[in-house]
């Protein structure tokens, strides 16, 4: 995880330099926007990590491995995709939960299917899509997307076995 930390801090510093060279308020605005998001989601994240802690302590590893483990095949992909639809909250909640399931013995294929499913089919974002885009657009976009997490998970299992 230290590579990721270094990478992100390098990125943040680089972008901070670009913002500074603009000579306007961009640097201060960027820091302010980032800290504002952090403040708004801090409580959510603390609770999310409490949940993650409990899931990790209580994790029925046998259950996770049985349903979405490396040998769970197509059934595991379908279950993982369905979990992705209903995973709660923003990335600060969903990503730690998915990481916990991965540590508890879920397979690479089902985990990638779950991430893909949550990103493009999550029912929470459909709540935003419907009022803005109408039901026909939402039905086409969501309906066509249903096959994609299975394809991603299947591809991962086939390529990385």
């Amino acid at each position: 995880m230290t590579t990721a930390t270094l990478l992100l801090w390098a990125l943040a510093l680089g972008m901070g330099l670009v913002a500074r060279r603009r000579g306007d308020d961009s640097l201060r605005e960027g820091v302010r926007a980032g800290l504002h998001t952090l403040r708004r989601t801090l409580l959510l994240m603390v609770v999310a990590f409490v949940i993650v802690g409990y899931v990790e302590v209580l994790a029925p590893q046998a259950l996770v491995q049985d349903w979405i483990g490396p040998g769970s095949g197509w059934r595991g992909l379908v279950v993982a995709e369905a979990v992705g639809w209903i995973l709660p909250g923003g990335p600060y909640v969903a990503f730690p939960l998915i990481a916990t399931l991965y540590r508890a013995g879920a397979g690479l294929g089902p985990i990638l299917a779950m991430i893909t499913s949550w990103l493009m089919l999550g029912l929470i974002s459909v709540g935003f899509e419907l009022p803005f885009m109408g039901w026909r657009f939402t039905a086409i976009r969501w309906g066509m997307g249903v096959a994609m997490p299975l394809a991603v998970g299947g591809l991962a299992q086939w390529l990385l076995g």
Binding site: V18, T37, V55, S125, G134, F137, R141
Partner: protein
Amino acid sequence: MLPRSHRVDATLLALLCVALALAGLAWRQGGMERVQEGLERGGALLLWVAPLLLAAFLVAGFVQVLVSPHWVERWLGAGSGWRGILLACIGGALIPGGPYAYYPVAAVLLRSGASLGVLVAFVVAKNLYSGLRIPLEVALLGPRLTLLRLMLTLWIPPLMGFLAELLFGARVQAIRKAMGP
């Protein structure tokens, strides 16, 4: 639609209920000791990713300031065919903000004559490539899973845009009508 602050409150409340239920489960399994174990485990994990999260939020803030939505809109509105779909994919990756920020942009584009394929590619690209979410994904899932996920989903937005245009592109008027006034 609920305002943003209410949505967060509802999410927080739901999560609190889940946390409490899990704590109850832990208590039944092993008393206060087990309850404390879960809390300590969660706290340790949060401390472990805290420096990553701070950097991720700073990156998100800078993208928000440095990329203007008007710029993205100009490049998306003009295109059609494969060029439009590929531009939509890039635009979806670059446009900052949550669903309350990009769905209004997408709706304006669809109403003002952009094709169905362009909009499907735009929304799916935002979902899958969003430059703002990737730092968080790296922080919370690790670089290996994130890289694999990106590589394996790279083909989805252009393909879905192309297929949507091919299958339903002719009915774009009915789709616009379903958007309401």
